[in-house]
């Protein structure tokens, strides 16, 4: 019986020591857990954004002209946009509200033809509150990037003479690096749709399929090819400025905008083509 009492006393001491240890480390642990969970919320938000928001707001929140505004933009984070709409709450509340309720009417000064749909379940949308919160966390995580990018120059479209829709036009020397950058820019908007592959842009090589440069050459040589291009470069130009001259089987003949001939300069078109021809 004595050892029962002795060991029991030891056990009491152990309990006290462990509880004291937990008490001392608890504040740091709780903080670390909260921090970790906030980060995981961003991860969840990233996946939800990919599935629900990207088709209109772009893969990196850069927005798509004529579809939805940029949300990876400095004016959202520096307070200008909140001021413009007269919102006095926090940015978190603003984004949460817009995601959860949607936008039944466009904001003053904007003229997007589509309305932001309602996403919150309590207002008839598909997402639960925790999912809305996760998307907000993900969007807020763009803050550093958006503010840092504010100082940098951006790619613009249409300065200079437009390239037009003639595939036989002679183009200046193209710069593949400039083309790569343009292809990813919000202004050109290519990646909003052409990024449906599991990895990266759809024009890159994937699995057994070669890059778009190689593919373009094969298409021109195909027997069912119905366009006017004679070389891979011309085929690519035609696909951009006159996209319905030939539509690859399985694709909808209404998705690609018809106005790139008017929006791109000859130099920009040449850059894009040089970039794409380099992908094999």
């Amino acid at each position: 019986m004595r050892w029962h009492i002795a060991l029991g006393t030891v056990a009491v001491v152990v309990i006290v020591v462990v509880l004291a240890y937990v008490a001392i480390t608890e504040t740091a642990r709780m903080e670390s857990f909260t921090n970790a969970y906030d980060s995981r919320r961003i991860e969840v938000g990233a996946a939800l954004y990919e599935n629900n928001c990207r088709t209109c707001h772009g893969p990196q929140g850069e927005g798509i002209p004529g579809v939805a505004p940029s949300i990876n933009a400095p004016d959202l984070f520096n307070g200008e946009r909140l001021m413009a709409v007269g919102f006095s709450g926090t940015l978190y509340d603003y984004i949460e509200g817009v995601v959860a309720y949607g936008r039944p009417v466009p904001s003053a000064g904007t003229s997007y033809p589509q309305r932001m749909p309602t996403w919150g379940q309590e207002f008839g949308g598909p997402l639960r509150q925790d999912q809305v919160d996760a998307i907000v966390s993900f969007i807020l995580n763009w803050e550093d990037q958006a503010l840092a990018a504010a100082g940098e120059g951006t790619v613009t479209l249409g300065e200079g003479e437009a390239v037009g829709v003639d595939v036989g036009v002679s183009l200046p020397e193209g710069d593949p690096r400039a083309g790569a950058s343009l292809s990813q820019s919000a202004q050109a908007g290519c990646s909003a749709c052409h990024e449906l592959a599991a990895v990266g842009p759809a024009w890159a090589a994937e699995a057994s399929q070669p890059g778009i440069g190689e593919r373009a050459g094969q298409r021109v040589a195909q027997s069912d090819y119905s366009g006017e291009a004679e070389t891979a470069g011309q085929y690519l130009l035609e696909s951009i400025v006159n996209p319905y001259a030939y539509v690859v089987e399985g694709f909808d003949a209404s998705l690609m905008p018809r106005d790139y001939g008017e929006r791109l300069t000859a130099q920009e078109a040449a850059d894009l083509i040089a970039y794409m021809l380099s992908l094999r």
């Binding site: 009492i5 462990v18 709780m30 909260t34 969970y37 991860e43 925790d130 763009w142």
Partner: protein, 528 residues
């Protein structure tokens, strides 16, 4: 003496005997009243193991107090060792009380609503001091309680203690086993994470099979509160967990323990004549008194087990998976381990036969076992058939439990399984646990793991490659694993795992891919 005409006898006492003596006498009095008859010197002599006085003051708490009125004043010395009880009944009681205490504390921070429940878990883990410890202890205690209660039933069967006159004790014990299962199972749903929702959904899905259809549908609706689990379902299982089942448990515990004491603890089978029950006849020289021996030991067990639970909870953490989502079934979802045998049976075929009739017959069979199996001898040697049947049943339960696990007869694609080894859906897994900074941006081929730029990538790609190599090549061949890591946001990487293959039959290429976003501070592996 009187102050303002108020007469206080204690003041007379102080005047007569002095302050020190009076305080001492009064303290002794208070202790004696609280212990229903044990003075501090009695307690001291108990702890010192001195011989009791005459009349034995240590019997008074049994005769006068509430808490010990059902506890025997002495036990047979044969019951004093670890064998034959292994203290399993006592342990079950300990865990029951332990769960009530930790459970009540957790209730303070819990709201039974899908809108708040998961958020409450995050609060308990991130904003309540000792919150994680409480949750971990409650969870660990629950698992151990189920195990201990099941072992208790098994032990009772092995020593033949269910036999006459203890048939009813066994039957109430079987009900307590069901209560324990339901207590633990109903607790599963409360955190409202993926584990909760799917474990309980799988568990409840079999009531749907009850014939006729209208009954199955109604019971299913009652259990879920709606066609699918939601606010009503959660509230129902919460009430089951915190009110109904504990209440039933307390009532049947009372009956069970009363019966145990009424018949006496059954002695080891080899120490009794066949067909006799001598538990109540305890000769004076074989008695072990509750005070001091049993009481100090139970006190010791209580603190030692509490210490084990506290220490154990530092290392074994209750899981918390992502928020419950009725639209996404995680790969490898299972019922809780003690219901795996049931899930295993369901894989054998018809839901009605294997999900209801067979388990129903089994459990009712166990309930009435002592009324059917009436062989008089409790000796092991005389119960060869019974013990063999018991061993076979236990083995069958183990095999069925294995069959209930996801490793048996679950049809998922081998490619998906290979990816799930790196990015499992029920626990963090190697990719989430890797050093974030070592996940360098780039495209990597699993087969070229030797060339990986960092150690973490090397290990991940090697595992990926090995998992792919294990896929049988009879239908699909030429498997190629690709891992693509992209910078996605500040502190956030997008990782895509792709498996490419060629179908043997027609030579067409195929692909499976899964995407994961990983934040630099998400710090998996905190136990959740």
């Amino acid at each position: 003496m009187s102050i303002f005409n108020l007469h206080l006898p204690i003041l007379d006492e102080i005047k007569e005997h002095g302050l020190k003596t009076t305080v001492r006498d009064r303290s002794v009095d208070v202790v004696t009243r609280l212990t229903s008859g044990l003075s501090p010197s009695d307690i001291r002599s108990i702890l010192r193991d001195d011989p009791p006085g005459r009349p034995n003051p240590r019997l008074k708490p049994h005769s006068e107090g509430f808490w010990l009125h059902m506890k025997p004043t002495y036990y047979h010395q044969l019951m004093d060792g670890v064998y034959p009880t292994f203290r399993l009944g006592w342990l079950s009681t300990f865990f029951f009380v332990f769960e009530i205490i930790t459970g009540v504390l957790l209730m303070v921070y819990y709201t039974p609503s899908p809108a708040f429940a998961y958020e409450n878990m995050l609060t308990i883990l991130g904003n309540v001091p000792f919150g994680r410890l409480l949750r971990d202890m409650h969870r660990l205690g629950a698992e151990l309680m189920v195990a201990v209660v099941m072992l208790h039933a098994l032990r009772t069967f092995l020593t033949g203690s269910y036999k006459k006159p203890r048939q009813f004790t066994w039957a109430t014990g079987m009900i307590l086993l069901l209560v324990t299962w339901l207590l633990s199972f109903s607790g599963y749903l409360l955190p409202w994470d993926q584990l909760s929702l799917w474990a309980v959904t799988i568990g409840v899905s079999m009531v749907e099979a009850i014939p006729p259809e209208i009954v199955g549908q109604t019971v299913n609706l009652l259990a879920r509160g709606a066609p699918e689990f939601g606010a009503n379902g959660l509230l129902r299982w919460y009430l089951l967990h915190v009110v109904a089942m504990p209440l039933v448990g307390i009532i049947f515990f009372g009956v069970h323990y009363y019966k145990v004491i009424h018949h006496g603890h059954s002695l080891p089978p080899e120490d009794e004549e066949v067909g006799e029950d001598t538990a109540k006849r305890v000769p004076t020289d074989t008695r072990v008194y509750f005070f001091p021996t049993i009481a100090t030991r139970e006190l010791f067990y209580t603190v030692a087990l509490t210490a084990m639970m506290v220490v154990g909870s530092l290392f074994i953490h209750a899981p918390l998976e992502p928020h419950a989502d009725p639209l996404i079934t995680p790969l490898h979802s299972t019922a809780p381990w003690y219901f795996l045998w049931l899930q295993g049976m369901l894989k054998l075929g018809d839901k009605v036969i294997w999900g209801l009739i067979v388990p129903g017959v089994l459990i009712s069979g166990l309930l009435v076992l002592p009324y059917i199996e009436v062989g008089p001898s409790r000796r092991y040697g005389d119960r060869r058939i019974g013990l063999t049947a018991g061993a076979v049943t236990t083995l069958l339960f183990a095999i069925l439990s294995y069959m209930g696990s996801p490793w048996y007869a679950v049809q998922t694609s081998a490619e998906q399984e290979a990816v799930a080894e790196l990015v499992p859906e029920t626990h963090p897994g190697p990719l989430r646990l890797s050093d974030w900074n070592e996940l360098q941006v780039g495209t990597y081929d699993a087969s070229a793991y030797e060339a990986a730029p960092t150690e973490a990538l090397h290990d991940l790609l090697e595992e990926f490659d090995h998992e792919l190599a294990r896929i049988p090549r009879d239908e699909r061949t030429d498997h190629e694993g690709i891992m693509v890591i992209e910078n996605w946001q500040t502190g956030l990487k997008k990782i895509t795992l792709r498996v490419l293959w060629t179908t043997v039959a027609d030579g067409n290429p195929g692909e499976y891919s899964q995407t994961l976003y990983l934040h630099e501070d998400s710090n998996y592996g905190q136990g959740e």
